[in-house]
Assembly symmetry: C2
Homo-oligomer: 448 residues x 2
Amino acid sequence: MVNIGIIGFGTVGTGTARILLGNKDIISQRIGFEINLKRIADLDIKKDRGIRLPEGILTKNADDVLNDPEIDIVVELIGGIRPAKDFILKAIRNKKHVVTANKALLATEGNEIFSEAEKNEVDVGFEASVAGGIPIIKIIKEGLVANKVLAVYGIINGTSNYILTKMTDDKVEFSEALKEAQRLGYAEADPTYDIEGIDSAHKLAILASLSYSIPLSFNEIYKEGITKITAQDIEFAWELGYKIKLLAIAKSLDSKIELRVHPTMIPKDYFISKVDGVFNAIYVQGDAVGDTLYYGRGAGDMPTGSAVVADIVDIGKKIVTSYKLQVTSHEKNSGPQTHISRLNSLLVARHSSLKIKKMEDIEAMYYFRFSAFDKPGVLSRISGVLGEYNISIASVIQKGRRVGEAVPLIVLTHTARERDVIKAIAEIDRLPIVADKTLYIRVEGKEQ
Amino acid sequence: MVNIGIIGFGTVGTGTARILLGNKDIISQRIGFEINLKRIADLDIKKDRGIRLPEGILTKNADDVLNDPEIDIVVELIGGIRPAKDFILKAIRNKKHVVTANKALLATEGNEIFSEAEKNEVDVGFEASVAGGIPIIKIIKEGLVANKVLAVYGIINGTSNYILTKMTDDKVEFSEALKEAQRLGYAEADPTYDIEGIDSAHKLAILASLSYSIPLSFNEIYKEGITKITAQDIEFAWELGYKIKLLAIAKSLDSKIELRVHPTMIPKDYFISKVDGVFNAIYVQGDAVGDTLYYGRGAGDMPTGSAVVADIVDIGKKIVTSYKLQVTSHEKNSGPQTHISRLNSLLVARHSSLKIKKMEDIEAMYYFRFSAFDKPGVLSRISGVLGEYNISIASVIQKGRRVGEAVPLIVLTHTARERDVIKAIAEIDRLPIVADKTLYIRVEGKEQ
């Protein structure tokens, strides 16, 4: 038997408890031992969560979980940085394994947490921290262990994907789609983390660390949200053969890694561009497997709870196994040991020497939406500046003539360098023929 | 260090060796120990496979692998039933772990093999047996361990999916699409296993055993291939809002499991219906995670090799860990133990009491293509018979009038029972107004 204590009885905590209690039989039948939900700590132990708990489980005091010598695994589900970090560190120092869904904490303070876990020879499970319903951590860490990862492209923020899908399907503007997302509970009252790419970047830091054996590098990730995308951009993109998605990208090129989150135009026939609504998907390209994609719900009590329980089972297997081996070795008095953990919590050890590329060094195709006055010679001026910076044009869309007024001028480029694009746009935006700041969207896929 | 011996140096054997040698450093960096490819046995050790092997690895004698006391894991990659089964059983009895890609063998003789493995306390890894590049075995067994599996829908035969995609995109008939598949190397000279659903059924037996804790039940699976599907059916299906895919289906309803492989109409907006060409995908619905889908290449040297190596790593971790624990326990003389395996090779132990439903008891919507003479009253006669068997009609398509000749009459039904459908069709096919045998395709998705 493995004893579990949960800290944080909110949405995910409730989902986790519901699974541990409701699927108890089927899980123990599968794994051959029992997982016992021993304590749940939360400041609010009165609220009805619609779930019947065995008596005496609830406590207001996290220390009842952290200091209970019988509890093997502490599940941190309160989110945020403090006091979550203190609880996790205390659990680790008390030689307890930890399972957490806290992507913000891991992305920003994970290096310290994993190093502390390694020192104390305990495991930290974090399957639930990225794309809840998709077992992507296990897939990358174990399923694709034989591969050099070439690229990871993730739609890993359901809120943004819902908003972009809504803008695409109903041809509405960002603000209206956001309001609808909030009404449906897909976006929070303060949606900043979701729509500005911060949440995606938290998750990308974790995925990239796993895929490339690099330290968690949240600060080095380029982050750009979806707030400037208009319904018109989505239409122009479609006309050019693309859909616009908020992508979290990690890819290796010339022994450097690109880490970036931004709205991205993807060819509409790519499988990942068909991922709509609140669904998440992660495309992983490995040198051996080639193209793979994993699709499911990224959030919610039960999908995230499913990931939490999968981690509990994995760690539980190791606890039970090492204990069995101990017993087999007739050393019953030394208690369960957990040397196995070193093989699994690998977000610290043995970092590769890969460097992260500066954003200005990346290369991509670009979509530009210039806001130019409708006058003769405008395209020639703009393309002249682009040419000076070695940016060559693949297609142009110019629609809606309104002489003397500002109209959108759409340009799709061949592969160009971000550094050159920034300079060219700065110069173009100073031209008197340009009415407003130029919007640009990076384009993935093959040159057409 | 963990020592590996491969038996079978064909396509997958070569891919596996290429990964073990080419990605050796990245893999040991990740897992913390070395995997050593010690021997490869094959009848042909002369042929140039375009890979440089360390000297002395190749042997013509499988016993050089099976009897080598240093080899920890035997990788069986020759395929077929004999002598693969003998090699695997010998390896198991020599207390060696086994990794195999042999779906036909596992589906038909797996119960015996897994039971022998359990008796000898060794592991049998079979990630490569289903959907090569997709780590679906691990996903179901570990990633979704917290879930009651409600349904599994797999496009798990690349050949059939290529043929159906080709028929859809280029509006060609089956025989032409098959020829193209053979020309491109996607179909074998004798394509029976692929196009008759047998290969899909092998894989479904494995997936269902994992998902529902039932014995491997290949014989109980209903198998129907794609040879009777015409380009016209694909067009009619599209008109009705569906695509036709060869699906392997396992789903639980009323404590019974349906196991069936047949051409299936799926609503064209379902994510799985967008899986085209030689790609594979498995949709898994769990009670906690909801809808998930996993997509990648189902075959090929490197994707399958990637799965083989993932199994080697998993088993290797257990070997190394149990050895470490032994050393820790100062019992160095007892050698590595493998009690852990009991927790993992779970295709035998603790079977659930779920029963497999008889095919005639399943319920579905149905697409009928009647070949009826173009006379007044035909629809009324046919719908009369359907009505007698409680089969009610959702839509009808009748096109191309050729009075007195046989024309296709398409009927889409509401949910009906297979048993009734069989009887009704037998009766209809005896009517003088019917020119040819009626084709029917089961339809998945919500009632429209």
